[in-house]
């Protein structure tokens, strides 16, 4: 049996009292020895910050293992569930505390899967935030190597002087983020360049 999927609709402006929850942005405690901050700003087509976006991240642990443990909504402080949710603040900035993911395959460069929702964004967008790595590792990655060279940087997190990982998202413009589509997951954007 093949069914046609139900369409998505925008998360709208009023998700703030419904979807974010205490601890959603902290996949691990800041005191965890492997804790790293993953943060950035969401920008619109004028280069202005988007103050009403919501991000979710989903990732393996440091060894590349995918958690199937419940408890993301009520964290116990010890179990790494691999999933988190954070709304941006009034200047479009989001911040997660998490672990740096390991690779899930021999040729696969480590990354955090990122999903973006926002007022004005009719359907969720997926992208991957790749960890900084040596060029050979990034070149080998099956997805990164399929992305035009001049756009690859939009999927690379950068290391800040304080050790945090910076990953900005641009809906449009020169640095428009590479957003992903998957087989079996139709998405119609409307006219594109």
């Amino acid at each position: 049996m093949k069914l046609t999927p139900t369409p998505g609709q925008t998360v709208g402006p009023f998700f703030g009292y419904a979807l974010p929850y205490p601890g959603g942005e902290a996949l691990v405690d800041r005191s965890h020895p492997g804790a790293v901050r993953l943060h950035g700003t969401v920008y619109d087509g004028d280069g202005g910050p988007v103050p009403d976006a919501l991000l979710e991240i989903w990732q393996p642990d440091e060894l590349g293992a995918i958690s199937q443990q419940p408890g993301s909504l009520h964290r116990d402080g010890y179990t790494f569930t691999g999933w988190g949710r954070a709304a941006v603040d009034g200047v479009g900035h989001y911040s997660f505390t998490t672990l740096e993911p390991g690779s899930t395959g021999s040729e696969v460069a480590p990354y955090v899967l990122v999903t973006i929702f926002a007022r004005g964004l009719m359907d969720r967008l997926f992208t991957r935030a790749y960890l900084p790595a040596d060029p050979a590792t990034l070149e080998r990655d099956p997805l990164l190597s399929s992305v035009p060279a001049e756009r690859r940087h939009t999927m690379l997190a950068t290391r800040e002087p304080d050790g945090s990982l910076r990953f900005d998202i641009h809906f449009q413009g020169e640095d428009e983020t590479v957003f992903l589509t998957y087989p079996n997951t139709p998405q119609f954007t409307g006219p594109v360049d």
């Binding site: 899967l113 997951t185 119609f188």
Partner: protein, 265 residues
Amino acid sequence: MAEKNTDPDAAVLSQAEIDAEIAAIHAEYRAQRDAGGPVETNARLNFAPYRSSLLRHPTKSLHHADPEDIELHSPAFGHRDVSALESDLTIQHNGEPIGERIIVTGRVLDGEGRAVAGQLVEMWQANAAGRYMHKRDQHPAPLDPNFTGVGRTLTGPNGEYSFTTIKPAPYPWKNHNNAWRSAHIHFSLFGTDFTQRIVTQMYFPGDPIFALDPIYQSITDQAARDRLVATYDHSVSQHEWNTGYRWDIVLSGSNRTWAEQEEEH
């Protein structure tokens, strides 16, 4: 041609101007489809009648990715995450909320028709006066101290879910002058693969605002729009208690092989 006003709250256009933009896009879509073009099953991201999409839609084609391990899995949720009481939005305060008590129920299925069991369903909505319990909603309609408008549940073994709530009202917004949203409930769902993640809105049958609502009309295909509309189901209504609506949700097809799915059951 004049520059488009990209302020989402400018409210400068009339309903007639928005209607004409929607009609033009829909007519173009129908012509393409009738000429053998693809049937669009989702909302368009680039849909100018929804003003706040102008600066927030990708301008380049989405990049094709072969899903990898993390994308073929979803986070797990359980009773640690969600209490059974969270599916009843009418019992969250000391008194009964005002409005028409309804039950919204249905099943969550994947594209192959398989039930999505034990997964998280979240929903949120305006109250019976069309007001959200959100500080940015300042339109002059009353808040209800007995209604927050947020629910969560886990799907049952057959993918079933059920929420007891109050029927939300339409509400005004600033997309254009005298703009009103069709009454709706926001839904957020997870599947077995993270690529099936979806946030959407459920509507009520026969809403007179459908034709005027650019968010609903951002889905260019009528059959696809209809998939967001619940049906009134008298078997869900209960004697002297509630009316009932049924809405099944189909996630996109799983990218896992059938054998991989079965291993987890």
